[in-house]
Amino acid sequence: MDTRELIERLQLKQLNQFKHRSIDGVFISDMVSDTMARARPGNLWLTMQTYKSIIPAANLVDVAAVVVTSGKEVPAETVELAARYAVPLLWSELPTFELAVKLHALGIG
């Protein structure tokens, strides 16, 4: 599945413009250092962390997209940074656990 289909199926909000790409697995963490150590390229990264340091981390790992969960408000500077580095930034109202369950039902990971 790619990010375009994912956005549609789970009604995610897209916070910036980017080129759609395919998703390979899911990684969940709110710790930037964990993500840098353990997430793999192409993963969909679910996090409640909205601090701007998530963007360089996502860029470094080369995740397919970052999904901010739980309806957390994303600061403008995080969105700006995502736009500048073209890191796909998505948003969902669902808590992390509920979103993970839906992703699994879609056959991701």
């Binding site: 990684f27 969940i28 739980s70």
Partner: protein
């Protein structure tokens, strides 16, 4: 769903709480950000986290969770284990990552009816008044949470409504963490009257230049070290505002901050 089923689904080892495996679990909350656990976690949940620290267990205790699962094979600290034992929380450890753990728990949750919702506890009939003073030390991360733990334990002994105790415990914990992270030291006072519980925390510290800004969700001056502990995500003061019936902050830059929280009984 109960703790034993979760342990089996996650092939987890039991760090603490072998005798509490039949405890029913009503919700699952996955987070490494402790303020979010305090803000959005529901009572009788289990916390899934990769943050194997004492603060995770204290946060779960404040939010009335049943237990905590440390993920990705993270080793528990001695402090976390001791706190779980002293406060009767189940502590599990699994090698699975967060996503796999969510999926495995969902598989067993689907197959079992939701546990019975806990009934409302009887109102306390004891009308008593008391006042206690505490000291909070800035930078003392090893003891961070001890004052709010003590406050919670006192209120429990008095027999206040658990939902009220939870709001007071969460607010006090956020206030205490602010002192540990930002100030040099603080005096905290718990005052209970038949109508009201009040917690004040007066610190000596840098003060808050713009209180209105600090009250905004997501605004933070936290360092990377604080964030690594799951705090400093800009949720502390908003969390207190959400939980307290009345909240007042007075701050002088270079002198300190005084936080007053009131809760109606």
């Amino acid at each position: 769903m109960n703790m034993r089923m979760i342990r089996e689904a996650l092939e987890a080892s039991v760090i603490e709480g072998e005798d509490q495996m039949e405890l029913p679990v009503e919700h699952v909350y996955a987070s490494d950000l402790m303020s979010d656990v305090l803000a959005f976690g529901k009572p009788h949940s289990v916390l899934l986290t990769g943050l194997a620290t004492q603060q995770s267990v204290i946060s779960a205790h404040m939010a009335e969770f049943r237990g905590v699962v440390f993920l990705r094979g993270k080793k528990s600290t001695d402090g976390a284990r001791r706190f779980a034992r002293d406060h009767r929380l189940v502590l599990l450890s699994t090698g699975f990552d967060t996503y796999e753990a969510c999926v495995r728990i969902e598989a067993i949750r689907k197959g079992t009816p939701a546990g019975p919702e806990a009934g409302a506890d009887p109102r306390p009939d004891a009308e008593l008044s008391l006042s206690r003073d505490f000291c909070i030390m800035g930078g003392d991360y090893a003891n961070a949470g001890s004052v709010s733990t003590e406050v919670k334990s006192i209120l429990k002994k008095i027999g206040l409504d658990p939902r009220l105790i939870r709001r007071i415990a969460i607010s006090t914990y956020e206030g205490e963490m602010n002192v540990v992270m930002h100030a040099r030291r603080a005096k905290a006072r718990l005052t209970v009257t038949p109508a009201m519980v009040q917690v004040t925390i007066e610190d000596q510290g840098p003060g808050i230049p713009d209180v209105e800004l600090a009250m905004q969700e997501g605004f933070t001056t936290a360092t990377e070290e604080m964030r690594a502990m799951g705090f400093g995500s800009g949720m502390g003061l908003p969390n207190i505002k959400k939980n307290a019936d009345e909240m007042r902050i007075d701050s002088r830059v270079g002198e300190g901050t005084s936080l007053e929280m009131k809760f109606r009984i």
